[in-house]
């Protein structure tokens, strides 16, 4: 028995070491990227990272929490708008705007979450969709404050972060830090309870978990990280448009999570890379992007509902579980 468990512990430790090694390698690659790639690809990489962070923040509640987060783009857009408005209207210093924008998203997440967590599943999603659409409508109509459908352009950003390389480095550093934090959150006791609620809400409630409170916390955390992604979007693109918080964007991000695999941590990042890549590079050949996305999505749901990473990770995971099981015996 002890032999089995010690070998399991050894394997776990070596796996952990492998993971650390892979992370370090990824960070080094990210840092070196601008030296090798032409400007356009650096911009593209930054966009992928921003969208990946956005998708990962959605996956926090969607994949790990099992919450039907139908309108996540609202928090993304709220962060972006808060950032842009603080710089253009309030003339706030950059660091303050960077700090406040995700907090605005988190507060919005708290407000929307507090209303929605009273409901579950489809009702939760639909109410969230309606509240989100309300926010979109206000942003879209409020010409004097948000610029209406023109959005906000000419956002004053210091040269150091508005250049392609500068924006990339800022994005890369922030995204890596955020991913690390989210990874810690998912594997914290809170994250475990969150996943327990996803797997079986009745049992979780029976052992004394306050489901609504945890879902509300999850919502606020996810909104916070989505807000950070929104800020980074402004840094990379230099503009904000109300389309950022339209409901179709939310569904597109869900497609990214689905594509990568929503029971995996890095799946949404992979999905974001694939979708953003396809959109950017098919754009040169055809304007029928929505047809392509629709067909990909149909094929995914029909034949690959676990996602790409889900397909790879799942068998490995079940093997681990199996050995853990025998180890216990």
């Amino acid at each position: 028995m002890s032999e089995a468990s010690s070998s399991l512990a050894y394997r776990l430790r070596s796996l952990r070491r492998l993971e650390t090694f892979a992370c370090l390698a990824a960070v080094i690659v990210l840092l070196l990227l601008p030296f090798v790639l032409p400007d356009f690809y650096v911009y593209f990489a930054a966009l992928v990272l921003v969208t990946g962070l956005f998708a990962t923040s959605l996956n926090l509640v969607l994949g790990y929490g099992g919450m039907y987060q139908f309108h996540h783009a609202v928090f993304y857009g709220a962060g972006a708008y808060a950032f842009a408005l603080m710089l253009t209207k309030a003339h706030a210093p950059l660091w303050l705007a960077c700090l406040c924008a995700p907090l605005v998203s988190a507060v919005l997440g708290f407000l929307i979450g507090a209303i929605c967590v009273r409901l579950s599943k489809l009702y939760f999603g639909m109410l969230q969709l309606s509240l989100g659409s309300l926010v979109w409508a206000i942003v879209y109509r409020w010409y004097s404050f948000t610029g209406g459908d023109n959005g906000i352009n000419e956002i004053p950003l210091p040269n150091a972060i508005s250049s392609t390389t500068g924006a990339y480095y800022l994005t890369a550093v922030v995204v890596v830090v955020c991913l690390f934090l989210m990874y810690r959150i998912v594997n914290s006791p809170f994250g475990k309870i969150f996943q327990a609620i996803r797997d079986n809400p009745q049992r979780s409630e029976a052992i004394g978990v306050n489901i609504r409170l945890h879902q509300l916390k999850g919502e606020v955390i996810a909104a916070f990280f989505a807000g950070i992604a929104g800020v980074l979007y402004v840094v990379v693109e230099g503009t904000v448009v109300p389309d950022m918080l339209f409901w179709t964007v939310s569904l597109e991000v869900m497609v990214m999570c689905l594509l990568g695999g929503w029971y995996t941590f890095l799946g949404p990042l992979l999905g974001a890379a694939v979708i953003v890549g396809l959109r950017t590079f098919t754009g040169a050949y055809t304007e029928h992007w929505s047809l392509i996305l629709g067909i990909i999505l149909m094929a995914l749901i029909l034949w690959l509902p676990e996602g790409v990473l889900g397909l790879i990770v799942k068998p490995a995971n079940s093997k681990m579980e199996l050995s853990a099981e025998t180890g216990r015996k």
Binding site: W142, L251, M298
Partner: protein, 298 residues
């Protein structure tokens, strides 16, 4: 002072009447959505795209038939039928394979359908907008005691109740309605007594999508027909269905009344942000009654 009061009263009732006419299309579209949601349990995001398809088809059919009143009435029947046929094909070949999946997958799948329909519209009709004229019998407006009501709004006010009565008859008095109600409550049991549930689902899906097409062809002469006209109506229809109670057609009626009236009255109070009022109404209703106003079939 007296004049001002009369003016507001007149404009108020005017606005209520116009709002009621708009409610008609909202009701027709959302009752179809509610039917599909209640019986098939599919949150059909592509419902809005089918509505848009109905509008474009109505435009083309009316033009093909020479733009006459007869052509317009024919398009009111033919365009929804074409939409229903398309939905039948989609249901048989795609959706019928997915009934066991959870709602999130169904939602995303119908989103994919909406994307494809959108692009098909783009390919067939191009990216620009189209507009069609009302037949001459519907142009102009009636006026009585200081109120002006466009003739077409009056027509819509007649169509709405007709559709509601038709739906009531279909659901309560016909065999397929009774079977579909039973299937909404207990799918397996209906199958166990020897009824082909799969075809009942196909029929209900067709009826629901027919209603989407009908809504689209009814609004076709009143607004510009563009790509993206589906994006706002689908959200509104979903809100109405949620507010009324999932799968309850009368809930859809009640919901669209609340939605349409708060919208049209909101214009009087705060024109720039009139859109806020219906959404606020939905939020208030759902806070007071989280499961919707009327009993849901879920």
């Amino acid at each position: 002072m007296h004049l001002a009061v009369q003016l507001t009263l007149a404009s108020l009732s005017q606005q209520v009447l116009v709002g009621l006419a708009e409610t008609t299309t909202l009701f027709i579209v959302s009752s179809g959505l509610s039917l599909v949601l209640g019986v098939l349990r599919i949150p059909n995001i592509s419902h809005g795209a089918l509505y848009m398809l109905g509008a474009f088809l109505a435009y083309s059919i009316t033009r093909m038939l020479g733009g006459t009143a007869a052509g317009f009435f024919a398009s009111l029947l033919l365009a929804p039928l074409a939409v229903a046929f398309i939905s039948l094909v989609v249901e048989r070949f795609l959706l019928s394979r997915l009934y066991e999946r959870d709602h999130l997958m169904l939602l995303l799948f119908t989103f994919a359908l909406a994307l494809v329909f959108n692009d098909v519209v783009n390919i067939v009709w191009g990216a620009g907008y189209r507009s069609m004229q009302l037949p001459s019998m519907f142009q102009g407006s009636f006026s009585f005691s200081g109120l002006f009501l466009p003739r077409y709004s009056l027509f819509l006010l007649c169509v709405g109740p007709l559709v509601a009565i038709g739906l009531w008859f279909l659901i309560n008095r016909t065999k397929i309605g009774k079977i579909s109600r039973a299937a909404a409550v207990h799918r397996e049991m209906v199958g166990a007594v020897g009824i082909n549930v799969s075809w009942v689902f196909a029929a209900v899906f067709m009826i629901g999508c027919f209603l989407a097409g009908l809504g689209g062809s009814l609004v076709a002469p009143t607004q510009s027909i563009t790509q993206g006209m589906d994006a706002s109506i689908i959200i509104e229809a979903f809100l109405i269905v949620i507010m009324g109670g999932l799968g309850n057609v009368w809930g859809a009626l009640l919901g669209s009344l609340i939605f349409g009236l708060t919208d049209s009255l909101g214009v009087l109070i705060w024109p720039q942000f009139s859109i806020v009022f219906p959404y606020a109404a939905v939020i208030v209703v759902l806070l007071l009654r989280p499961a919707g106003l009327l009993r849901s079939t879920w």
